[in-house]
């Protein structure tokens, strides 16, 4: 295994971990089924791309896009995160206020499909179906992007982001705010009755998730240097859902585990499939199609046999909680 391969794997793992932590905050902890998660990642990626690229005239007109501000490193990533969060505000205001949870889910699914078709058809906005290419990565003007040292540098830039996101997410999950989120997930009416505002809680976590998703997109686009509608079709969100369900909903360790098992581990495992099986050459599209079937089976199988995932959410018990005998004695007296 060469170091280039290892670095690629590390960056992809980092991006998937960040995305899964964000989705887990929304879906696992708060119960928001964000079927348009990938749209927020895409928003971050497009933003980071157009912030770091030169104006589109620099490419001789083969791609057209807005922006092209050529800003130095941390700004595109921060910009991607901010746009991810900003996009979450109008979407959340429409979807999360009044609708039933299953309606929220289908509305977000519809949004995901439509956003993709809108960007595909509006060619001058972000170069349509062809997508944006030759996105310069951070420091690519100082270090040769093809050199091995650049690969290490990129891993070095990704890792702190993963740690930061993990720290923030852990902080949220373990805080009183996280408790409110879980209370809302378990029983929204009861949570409302004790004075929690579910719309406010959902909006907050939706925006936080949007920020993190935007960051993950920004990191990814700097590394792969291209971004097109075909990489953020709605089934991509389902992979992340599969990851969170397999890993274990509601806890960040489960989300990280899921990210390593499904998007990373799965891709790597299918890479091992030999090009010919006993003299039979599978048609070129068969394996990707079967990968998707397997993702579907993984979701259905886990929801049937082990809905809590590989690493279940820990049961949280309060130190001061009354034990059963105590409460019975109180009742009798």
């Amino acid at each position: 295994m060469n170091s280039y391969y290892a670095a690629t794997l590390a960056v992809y793992a980092g991006v998937d971990i960040i995305a899964c932590i964000a989705l887990n905050l929304q879906f696992g902890v708060s119960g928001i089924v964000n079927f348009s998660f990938i749209v927020f990642q895409a928003a971050g990626a497009y933003t980071a791309a157009v912030l770091s690229m030169p104006p589109d005239s620099a490419y001789g007109g083969y791609q057209t896009y807005i922006g092209g501000l050529q800003l130095p490193f941390p700004i595109p990533w921060i910009g991607g995160a901010i746009v991810g969060g900003l996009l979450a505000i109008p979407v959340g205001l429409v979807v999360l206020r009044k609708l039933r949870p299953d309606y929220q889910a289908i509305s977000l699914l519809v949004l995901s499909v439509i956003a993709n078709s809108l960007i595909t058809n509006a060619r001058t906005f972000l170069n349509g179906a062809a997508g944006i290419a030759q996105v310069p990565g951070p420091f690519s003007n100082q270090v040769d992007p093809l050199a091995q040292s650049y690969q290490l540098l990129y891993v070095g830039l990704t890792l702190p982001c993963v740690l930061l996101v993990w720290a923030v997410a852990s902080r949220i999950v373990n805080s009183p705010f996280g408790r409110s989120l879980r209370a809302m997930r378990e029983h929204e009416v009861a949570a409302t009755a004790i004075g929690k505002n579910p719309v406010q809680l959902k909006m907050t976590v939706f925006i936080v998730g949007g920020v993190i998703a935007g960051l993950s997109g920004a990191i990814l686009v700097g590394y792969i240097a291209v971004w097109a509608p075909s990489v953020w079709l709605y089934p991509e969100t389902i992979i992340l859902f599969a990851a969170v369900i397999v890993g274990g909903r509601g806890n960040n360790v489960g989300a990280i585990l899921g990210a390593l098992l499904v998007p990373v581990g799965f891709e790597e495992a299918t890479r091992m499939i030999p090009p010919t099986i006993g003299g039979w050459v599978p048609p070129p599209n068969l394996i990707p199609a079967m990968q998707w079937v397997a993702i579907g089976l993984l979701i259905i199988g886990f929801l049937w046999f082990r809905p809590e995932g590989v690493r279940p959410e820990p049961r949280r018990v309060f130190e001061g909680a009354p034990v059963r005998e105590d409460s019975e004695r109180v009742l009798k007296s």
């Binding site: 119960g31 089924v33 079927f35 429409v94 979807v95 009044k98 609708l99 039933r100 949870p101 299953d102 309606y103 889910a105 289908i106 509305s107 699914l109 519809v110 949004l111 499909v113 439509i114 078709s117 809108l118 058809n121 929204e188 009416v189 709605y234 089934p235 389902i238 859902f241 369900i245 048609p283 599209n285 068969l286 199609a289 079967m290 998707w292 079937v293 993702i295 579907g296 089976l297 979701i299 259905i300 929801l303 049937w304 809905p307």
Partner: protein, 294 residues
């Protein structure tokens, strides 16, 4: 002006296609409480079933029966072996939506190696071109509108005047109470999946006839339009879905004439957003999309 009259004609055909599909979708939701996101893919399976029968030299209107049968069989199997077991297990609404989306992904990708990525189209005898005050329609297109009208009347008659329809409405209103009154709700639900599956199958075929060509990837687009029509009318309301389909069909085709055909779905989506902001319960339903109170 001529352009808009012609667009009105296309709108009527679109509305017919959407109405057949949306009524099936909304009945599944209203009676079995299941948002079946695999609906678009079941349409594609039916469309391809009819395609192969059509390729074998059978007239497309006869092949449509094969499509209906395929849709009914697949929907029945989906419900019997996937959705019902999970519902019995107590999986919540959100879980069911995720399961149906996973099912949709699986059906699409099981189809791909079989039918391929290329687009297909039916062999149709479009018949004579009929003109009337600027409306230009072929005989085949008028036949689609007639099929839709007959199916809508049939659904109306079934729900309104038959024992089965009454049992369906009772099951939709309150399944527990219906069961206590001696209605075999499980059997009613199975029949609902057969009937709505057949509607879905016919919809898949007429959608393929209406568009120049179709591929496995068309399923997602169909689903979006169907959801828009069903939500606009008030989910779970067959009559609402008919009205919703008419509005979505006409508005999208007129907007295609006014703006650009690529943005048809975006216009449908804009209507959907407006409905969700202004009247999330849809036009007919009393509650529908709104969160249950208390």
């Amino acid at each position: 002006m001529e352009l808009y009259v012609a667009a009105l004609g296309f709108g009527l055909i679109s509305a017919s296609v959407i109405a057949i599909a949306a009524v099936g979708f909304t009945m599944q939701f209203g009676i079995t409480n299941m948002i079946n996101l695999a609906y678009g893919e079941v349409m594609m399976v039916s469309g391809y079933a009819a395609f192969y029968v059509n390729q074998a030299g059978v007239n497309i209107w006869v092949a449509m029966i094969a499509g209906a049968l395929a849709g009914a069989a697949l929907s029945f199997v989906l419900n019997r072996f996937l959705y019902t077991p999970f519902q019995r297990k107590g999986t919540n609404l959100i879980g069911m939506v995720i399961i149906s989306l996973a099912a949709s992904l699986m059906i699409a990708n099981l189809m791909l190696p079989l039918v391929g990525y290329d687009t297909s189209s039916y062999v149709i005898d479009q018949g004579q071109l009929l003109r009337w005050n600027g409306l230009v329609l072929t005989v085949a297109q008028i036949a689609i509108i007639v099929v839709a009208a007959i199916l809508m009347l049939a659904v109306h008659g079934m729900l309104r005047y038959t024992r089965l329809g009454k049992a369906m409405r009772a099951t939709a209103a309150n399944p527990t109470l219906a069961r206590n009154c001696g209605i075999p709700t499980q059997r009613v639900i199975s029949v609902v999946w057969l009937i709505t599956g057949a509607l879905c199958g016919v919809a898949g075929v007429v959608a393929g006839m209406d568009s120049e060509n179709f591929s496995v990837a068309s399923g997602a687009g169909y689903l979006i339009t169907i959801i828009a029509a069903a939500v606009l009318g008030g989910a779970g309301q067959p009559y609402g879905a008919m009205i919703g389909a008419l509005i979505i069909g006409l508005v999208t085709e007129l907007s295609a004439a006014a703006i650009a055909p690529e943005y048809k779905q975006v216009v449908a989506f804009a209507i959907l957003v407006l409905v969700m902001v202004l009247r999330p319960q849809g036009m007919l339903a009393k509650r529908g999309a709104l969160a249950a109170a208390g």
